[in-house]
Each structure stands twice: as structure tokens, then as C-alpha cells.
């Protein structure tokens, strides 16, 4: 039995970065939250225009880096001073000075892993299904096109009113994001 085509949102195309930025401000002012501005490159000022909070990634990486440093000190201290103490060129078993390079290295390593995988987690990537991919036009976003997408799950979403809003913000064209019927 064929399921009726489901509207998952709207996709509006804009002329360039300046137009996208201006439109983003208006969409955010209209109270929408489940919308996104798609562009081939990051646009300066877009975070403020969309009223986005600062990314928490810096704090995550900071915590991870200090954890890495702490773990490295534990590893080196425990193996060198507790589990199998060996006298090596008369240095103390817990030679914290000599432990610094590895401590630093593991701090950077954990920090970098957190930066990358934390970024992917915050962005919910990998995500191979998204409403915007229903649009054929959307393939141009990684080339030279600028879009705003608004998802149908947004509480303010109304297919007609939202379309009117997008056209009023200077959209060149607005299209429905419709899921393909499943057999």
C-alpha cells in the first residue's frame, strides 16, 4: 500500500552570502529554531544572524586534554615508580620533568580526538538521511548555491505561511522537501 507523500520541510534558494545572511536574520526573528543556512563555505556573522550559541567544543577539548595529561602522568608514574621501579642513570623513579613530553603528547592526542569526534557528535554526523537530500537542487550547495531549509517539525512551521515568509526574505525559489513514497 502506497504511503502518501509526506512533507518534511521547505528549501529556499538565495542569490549569495549577503542575501542568505539577511534572510537568516529574518527567519530567526520569526521564531524558527529548526532551520539551517546551507552554504559552500562558512559565512562570517552567520552564527549571530541565526542566534546560535557558541559551540561548547572548546570546553570539551579542554577537559579531554587535561584528562589525557592526567592519565599520562598516572601511566608513567605507576609503571616507573610502583609496578616495576628500575634505577636508570640515578634519576628519581617519579621523574616528572622527564615525563613531560609524553604527558604533553597524550594531552594533545586526547584533545584532538575530542575535537574531531566531538564535532561529529555535535553535528550528528555521519548522517546519511536528511530531508534536504530529497531536493535535486540541493546538490549545488557544495558548489555555489545558498539555501535555507526549515524542517516541518518546527512548532512554527506552516507550509503556506512559512513559504510566504521565505519568499518575503528574498528567496529565488522555494521547494517542498517531500519524502519519496515507500513502495
Amino acid at each position: 500500500m502506497a504511503v502518501e507523500n509526506r512533507n518534511e520541510g521547505l528549501l529556499a534558494r538565495y542569490e549569495g552570502p549577503a542575501e542568505l545572511l539577511a534572510a537568516a536574520r529574518k527567519v530567526a526573528d520569526a521564531g524558527y529554531h529548526k532551520f539551517d543556512c546551507h552554504s559552500p563555505f562558512p559565512i562570517h556573522g552567520m552564527d549571530e544572524a541565526m542566534r546560535l550559541k557558541r559551540s561548547p567544543l572548546g570546553y570539551m577539548v579542554g577537559i579531554a586534554a587535561f584528562t589525557g595529561a592526567g592519565l599520562a602522568l598516572l601511566l608513567q608514574g605507576w609503571t616507573s615508580a610502583i609496578d616495576y621501579p628500575l634505577i636508570i642513570s640515578g634519576k628519581p623513579f617519579f621523574s616528572y620533568q622527564a615525563f613531560m613530553p609524553v604527558t604533553f603528547g597524550l594531552a594533545v592526542l586526547l584533545g584532538a580526538f575530542t575535537a574531531v569526534f566531538g564535532m561529529l557528535a555535535l553535528n550528528r554526523l555521519p548522517q546519511f538521511y536528511h530531508a534536504v537530500f530529497h531536493s535535486d537542487r540541493f546538490a549545488r550547495v557544495t558548489r555555489d548555491a545558498f539555501f535555507i531549509s526549515i524542517e516541518a517539525s518546527d512548532p512554527h512551521y506552516d507550509r503556506e505561511q512559512t513559504r510566504t515568509l521565505l519568499l518575503a526574505t528574498g528567496a529565488l525559489e522555494v521547494e517542498d522537501l517531500t519524502a519519496e513514497p515507500q513502495s
Binding site: A18, D36, A115
Partner: protein, 463 residues
């Protein structure tokens, strides 16, 4: 409204649009490979086979097949390790330090410079791994619980090296991949065949270019740059402590960490320049990698070359000023002893050749900078040879002196490492975008139109 951006000269020539730039870079991976590419790949992969075969020979026969002897127990193996790891440093400098310094010109060269870093570190890792002799016990380098209940010695610089270099490799790879994701998405959206669509679809993780993604992405990029900057400075510093913490005259000096880092950046930029000159010519990327980009790289070579020259001078001064007779002998021996030829190759290539770049005419001439960069690569290899071999061959007691000559296996493995490097590089330029498209688009004048933060905001409203 065309000549608005005269306040700051543009880095990308020919006024490309977002679309034409995408086409220009993506098409390199989409059209059929040229005959030259196949010939180059055939040569470099044959050399890689030589490398693998000689490693097999080395492992079965032992490191006696090298020219290493006592007193020169470290020779080409460690020279090549330091040489390759140093080359990697320019890629990280371009991707991280120039990013933090907001140097827009980095966007044209960062992608392949980062690729160069990764491939150079792979080549570098070959050497210490086979140098240990019994490679099947290589896991002893890592703190893994084992039946002997033994742990690595964390007070040894050789162990620091293991952590520094493996961290460096991992972080460089992560940094490179993060940078690639938006460009892989571009290739995904252009892909024609089903196989390519699926492969690129998986690799690009479902990237949508939404600002909610860019926001975290840019933060991640900034953080990675912030982490890589001290990391790259620490890696060659740690490498230098392998030498500096020993008591060998000529090694036991405090100048080593900054001296090695400057040398690494110097040699790395020479390699980036060499590759950039070839790549821009072969792929007609002269509008993206302009002469001004190359000129900037020459300036960095001049600065780091002066630092290296200064370090050579200070070493000599301290050898005399310290009053240590062994130290003094070592330096006189370097300049006038049996390895004097290597020393003077080093001085001519690393100190004299970069002086050419004082002159604008010479640092904007492609043939001059190509030859100069090759000579600097050569000179930096000899620098490591001089430091390692000349110091070891004559240390304290004349009765323990010796002379080192490489064997054919040494030469073959070194040549093979170039094969490995160029094989990886050729595969990279064939299958991945060699210019960071999303970053270059971000510095085009039409990308700035929307920004409030851009100083020259004298547009008369385009709509």
C-alpha cells in the same frame, strides 16, 4: 562595482566564480589520468617495491647489511628519519600556524602540504621501525602489559619520540580528514557512477554545509590548529633530545630543539615549494597557486635559513667558548676532517643558497626557486648526516674512531622511501581534491559580501 577590492590584493587570480573554481579543482580527479601520471606512478611504485624488498632482505639478514658500524651505530637510518620527519613540519606549519595567524594565502597550498606531511611521516616511521633490528619485537616500544612484566623507560628520549611522532601522525591525519570533509561532499554531489557516489557519500559523512554544522566545524578546525601548533614545535624538539641528552660532543647542546625546529620548517618549505611548482604547472593551477604564494614560501625559507645559519655559527662559537677540547675538536673535525665535503655541501646549500631570496627578481623566478628548493632539500639531508655521522665517527678516544660508508642497501632503502612518498602523493593528486575548495571560496571577494566584520564595507548594496 568591479574594482572595489583594491585595498587588499586578491590571492586568487582571474576572478573565478564559486562554480568555476569548483570545476577547475574537481575536474582534476574526474577526467582521465594523463600518460605522464601513469609513467610517474610506474616509476615510483617500482621504487616502493625496491623499498619493500630491501626491508625484507634487512629483516631476514639483520642490520649488518647496512654500512652501520661501531662507533657509527646510527647512520643513514636515523639521518633519513630526521630528514623525512622534518619535511612534514612545513605542512603543519601551513595548516595550523598560518591559520592561527589568519594568513589567507595558506588556503591555496594547505591541502597538499598537509598530504605531504602525512606521507613524509609515513616514510619517516619506516626508518626507526626497521632500525630496531628485530622488528617483530617492535611492540616493546609501547606500554603494553607483557609476560616479562616490564614497561618502557619513560625517562628516555627515545620513548618520548615514539609518543611524539605517533601523536603527530594521528593528529595530522585527523586534521587533514576534517579539512577534506566539505570537499569530499562536493565530489559526492558531482559523482557520476554509483560506486563513486557510495564511496564519497560514506567518506563525506552526509555533510550538508549547514551553518549549524559549519559552526562546530570551524571551532573544531580552530582547536585542531591550536593543538597542532605546540605539537609541531614539540615533535622536532623531542627528536633533537634523542641527541641532546647524550654526552657525544656535537650532540650535547641546548641549542638543539629550536635549531632542529627551524631546520625542519626550512626543509619542509623547500619540499612544499618543489611540489607546488610541479603541481601548479602540471595541473594548470597558476591562478590559484600564484607566484605571490611561491614568493611567500621563499621568504619563509629565507628566514628559517638564516636561523639555521645562525645556529651553525653559534655551535661553532660555543665549541670554542666552552673550552671543552672534545667539543672544539668535533667542530674542527666537521669542517676540516674526513667528512668536510659533507659539511661544506651543507653550508653552501643551507646558508648560501637561501641568500638568493633577498632579491625579488630571484624569489619570483620559478626556475631559480625550483633549483634553490632542491638544493635546500639536499643540504638539509646533509645537515643531519653531518650531525649524526661526523659526531659519532670521532668521539673521545682516537682508538675508538672509525669511518662510515653506506652500503647498497642503505642507498636502496633511501631511494625506495622516495618511491613510497611519491606513490602516495600521486595517488592523492589523482583521487582527492588537491586544493581546499571550501577554504579558497571563503577568501574570494564575493564571499565577503555579507560579512559585517570585513573592514572595506563600501559596497553600494548589491541585490
Amino acid at each position: 562595482m568591479s574594482s572595489i577590492h583594491n585595498q587588499e590584493q586578491q590571492w586568487i587570480e582571474g576572478h573565478p566564480t564559486f562554480g568555476s573554481l569548483t570545476d577547475q579543482v574537481s575536474e582534476l580527479t574526474e577526467k582521465k589520468a594523463s600518460r605522464t601520471w601513469y609513467i610517474a606512478l610506474a616509476v615510483s611504485s617500482s621504487l616502493t617495491v625496491v623499498l619493500l624488498a630491501l626491508i625484507g632482505y634487512l629483516v631476514t639478514r639483520g642490520i649488518g647489511v647496512w654500512g652501520n658500524n661501531i662507533p657509527v651505530a646510527w647512520a643513514w637510518d636515523i639521518v633519513n628519519f630526521v630528514f623525512w620527519i622534518g619535511i612534514g613540519h612545513a605542512g603543519t606549519l601551513i595548516s595550523a600556524i598560518l591559520f592561527l595567524l589568519r594568513q589567507q594565502w595558506r588556503t591555496s597550498i594547505n591541502r597538499f602540504a598537509e598530504a605531504m606531511t602525512i606521507f613524509a611521516v609515513i616514510c619517516a616511521l619506516v626508518f626507526p621501525s626497521i632500525h630496531v633490528g628485530r622488528i617483530w619485537l617492535i611492540y616493546w616500544l609501547f606500554p603494553l602489559p607483557n609476560q616479562m612484566a616490564m614497561w618502557p623507560n619513560f625517562r628516555s628520549p627515545l620513548l618520548w619520540d615514539v609518543f611524539a611522532v605517533s601523536t603527530y601522525f594521528t593528529v595530522s591525519l585527523l586534521f587533514w580528514y576534517v579539512g577534506l570533509v566539505p570537499d569530499l561532499a562536493t565530489m559526492r554531489d558531482r559523482a557520476k557512477t554509483r560506486f563513486k557516489k557510495i564511496m564519497l557519500g560514506i567518506l563525506s559523512l552526509g555533510w550538508r554545509g549547514g551553518n549549524r554544522q559549519w559552526q562546530h566545524y570551524e571551532m573544531a578546525y580552530l582547536l585542531l590548529a591550536g593543538l597542532s601548533t605546540p605539537l609541531v614545535l614539540s615533535v622536532h624538539s623531542v627528536v633533537s633530545t634523542d641527541f641532546a641528552t647524550s654526552v657525544i660532543p656535537g650532540w650535547h647542546t641546548t641549542i638543539f630543539p629550536p635549531y632542529f625546529v627551524a631546520g625542519a620548517i626550512f626543509s619542509g618549505f623547500a619540499m612544499v615549494t618543489t611540489l607546488a611548482i610541479i603541481v601548479r604547472k602540471v595541473f594548470a593551477l597558476q591562478n590559484i597557486i600564484t607566484v605571490r604564494h611561491l614568493e611567500n614560501m621563499c621568504k619563509i625559507m629565507l628566514v628559517t635559513g638564516l636561523m639555521v645559519g645562525y645556529a651553525y655559527g653559534v655551535e661553532f662559537f660555543i665549541a670554542w667558548y666552552s673550552g671543552n677540547i672534545y667539543e672544539r675538536f668535533t667542530f674542527l673535525n666537521r669542517a676540516f676532517g674526513p667528512y668536510a665535503w659533507a659539511y661544506w655541501i651543507m653550508i653552501s646549500c643551507n646558508v648560501l643558497v637561501p641568500q638568493l631570496f633577498w632579491f625579488k627578481k630571484l624569489r619570483t623566478s620559478i626556475p631559480v626557486m625550483f633549483v634553490a628548493a632542491l638544493l635546500i632539500n639536499l643540504g638539509m639531508w646533509f645537515e643531519r648526516f653531518v650531525i649524526i655521522v661526523s659526531s659519532l665517527s670521532r668521539d673521545f678516544l682516537p682508538g675508538a674512531w672509525g669511518y662510515y660508508k653506506p652500503s647498497w642497501v642503505d642507498v636502496g632503502i633511501f631511494a625506495g622511501s622516495f618511491g613510497l612518498f611519491f606513490t602516495l602523493f600521486l595517488l592523492f593528486i589523482r583521487f582527492l581534491p588537491i586544493i581546499a575548495m571550501s577554504e579558497v571560496k571563503g577568501i574570494l571577494p564575493q564571499a565577503q559580501a555579507g560579512a559585517d566584520s570585513i573592514p572595506h564595507q563600501n559596497h553600494s548594496g548589491r541585490s
